[in-house]
Symmetry: C2
Subunit: 430 residues, 2 copies
């Protein structure tokens, strides 16, 4: 039986899961794949981690370099995350002719192109299934299963923390703050939840999905990002009344030669399949010219779901080790630079708007005439009466309008004396 040796750097949640699985399930995995995969060296800067995982002393390296330079290692698995030292580790290992498996979304999103170019030159493969949506094999599916398709659209619920918070607000009618506290109590959100709830994590994942779905390398800074921090429970309740749920969507949409890439809270029709994705689960909805509509759903994070994806990458690469030539399914396309990233100002969308105004005669007239002047037409409006002179919300759904026109209109509206707070604006997807 073919033998493949693996080195692992980073023994945190995912790394620990990978090591234990490769050791504990070695017989099952080799029966399925016909390949004996062995962990031959591991490293983590926190030396307790290897001990806690009961890894035999002989497998524990004293620094990362020892793993990178081990000539017996075929595949180096990088699971420390972040840009550095992960980038140096991967480049070092590639230069030593090793294949790479990583779950590092920040690194692939930011420096994927450079890494894939180096790997291609050196005849090595980089597996990164675990970098997006944990156990959901969206990387492989976009890259291999749907390879004959021109992908027109993808909607991703790719950040489990945000989806947990939104699901909880909708179900328990609680505030964002309380839902976040609950997520933290369950270990689903970090003490500083910025990367999750401000959309940065979803942005990294969208960059990777865009590279696969549309053949375009996109840097995180090129994506329009809006998180869920400012969302208010009342918006979820209004949305629900009108037949919508609010989800933090990562949207990728091809419109002729331009590419919309955006992460923001979105009103989605409550009967759309993606709204049935609740709690910390992830899903990616994909529309292609041949497949029509498709959706992948599963666990987005956690020790064993992510480890499952890391090991599937290890097995894929292992099958090809020892064969002449490389057969990595991911390639940088010749057409890579053709699509242009659309400016968010050019977006055409329907909108949910909530104005917080003083309840006095002429308010709705003022607001709606400013919208009309900017060619924004109102589809539905709801104004709940309060005591005269008190602040009340006017809530509306618009027909399709241009984002730049909406920005202009809201700038004027938010300066009106009867408008008491910044207008809430949420985009709608059909």
């Amino acid at each position: 039986m073919k033998k493949v040796n693996v080195g692992i750097i980073g023994l945190g949640t995912v790394g620990g899961g990978v090591v234990r699985t490769l050791i504990d399930k070695q017989a099952i995995i080799s029966d399925k794949a016909g390949i004996a995969v062995s962990v031959v060296k591991v490293f983590d800067s926190d030396t307790r981690k290897a001990r806690d995982l009961h890894i035999p002393q002989g497998l524990i390296a004293s620094d990362a370099r020892e793993v990178i330079d081990d000539v017996n290692i075929d595949i180096l698995v990088e699971l420390i995350g972040g840009i550095q030292p992960a980038n140096d580790i991967i480049i070092g290992a590639l230069c030593n002719g090793k294949h790479i498996v990583t779950a590092n979304k920040a690194l692939i999103a930011s420096y994927g192109k450079e890494l894939f170019e180096i790997a291609e030159q050196l005849g090595c493969s980089i597996g990164f299934e675990a970098s997006v949506c944990g156990a959901v094999p969206v990387i492989k599916i976009l890259n291999e299963s749907f390879s004959a398709n021109s992908i027109q659209l993808l909607y991703g619920i790719v950040n489990g923390t945000s989806n947990f918070i939104l699901s909880r607000m909708a179900l328990h009618h609680c505030s964002m703050k309380d839902a976040l506290k609950e997520a933290q109590a369950r270990g689903l959100a970090e003490a500083n939840p910025k990367l999750d709830i401000d959309g940065g994590d979803a942005c990294h994942k969208l960059c990777i999905l865009a590279m696969l779905a549309f053949g375009k390398f996109v840097k995180p800074g090129e994506v329009y990002v809006e998180g869920i921090r400012q969302l208010d429970l009342q918006d979820m309740i209004y949305a629900k009344d009108w037949g919508y749920d609010i989800k933090l969507l990562a949207v990728g949409k091809r419109i002729s030669n331009s590419l919309e890439l955006r992460v923001h809270p979105t009103l989605v029709p409550a009967d759309h399949l993606i709204t049935s994705v609740k709690g910390e689960d992830n899903a990616v909805f994909i529309k292609g010219d041949m497949i029509g509509e498709s959706m992948l759903y599963g666990k987005g994070a956690g020790r064993t779901p992510a480890a499952s994806s890391v090991i599937s990458d290890i097995m894929d690469i292992s099958r090809n080790i020892g064969l002449s030539g490389t057969s990595s399914p991911f390639r940088i396309r010749k057409t890579e630079g053709i699509l242009k990233i659309a400016d968010i100002g050019d977006l055409v969308s329907r909108y949910y708007l909530r104005f917080l105004t003083i309840d006095e005669p002429g308010v709705l007239a003022a607001v709606s005439s400013i919208l009309a002047r900017n060619k924004i037409s109102i589809a539905t409006v709801s104004q709940i009466a309060r005591k005269q002179g008190q602040a009340v919300p006017i809530v509306m759904l618009t027909h399709e309008a241009k984002e730049s026109a909406m920005n202009k209109a809201l700038k004027v509206i938010d300066r009106l004396p009867m408008v008491k707070a910044k207008t809430v604006r949420i985009r709608i997807e059909k």
Copy 2:
């Protein structure tokens, strides 16, 4: 650029889609894969088909043998379906050293083991993604993405025709007969719909899924199969009242060393993700020890969805052509024979029961005492009063009971003088 030559036998719906896509999208596909795939020969016994597809005359073979024996062909794509002559064509092509891509579920379900053994001996690959669930890449995912998992459970909505009929009955409150007529009018059901609505098609697909998920070759005759033909609208309405939908599920469940494999109408809780799969769409819900719960959803049939899967197989095999040695991800496991297929009599399930009885004193007592004698306990019961002496349904949900005990009880109940028709029994999945 690497060149790969493809021959195609069968130019029906799927075959036509494959040929046209390979010709029309050649530039896009080769840019993505770095391989130039060319159709070099096609055959269909109906010669008009090649003409209607505008295939250049020089590519049209005058018999299947011409394709099988063409030394320039690397991959033979078999899309005629059915056992023969498909089996002979595939074996002939394998013996000529060609790789195979097929969408033939009946053949893979019935003779998969034999074909994979021949392919393994000859160092050839067989791709069969399009044999189950059209565009849904469940074959690849079970075989590659989830390969480190022990799969515990799968639920498949794998027959689009049945799911369309059930969805339509539920939505429009129409009869099975009317829903079937509508399916036929839309081209979703054949004039003779037996294979779809009696569960045979779902059974073939379950055999293939079982081979991948559980590493066990199962012949169609070993699967318990019950179709949807006998389903009545009133059962869907009763089920709905109790929070369930009725779906034709293909169920695979591992319970220690035995394997439940069954296709039958099933009550599924209305809030389960799989009940959101409506119309002719397909989905497979998978539970594994590492991934947790996962679901794949998409188009189950049709020209371009199936062609998309066929082409993904062609690309996968193409990547490995010319490399030394084979690297097919599908292997017959050493542990293949270990799992035993469970007898349906040993199933432990909750049940939905509808008794059609004369409304007279003591009926419910008689029925329930027979159930009790067989250790079947009732969870919920509903009896709608009619005029005394008329037939009325008694509908109930039971707690968990053994199938063999249920069979015994129903045999006795159906012989009671006050029971006017065969009792309807539908299994429940949680």
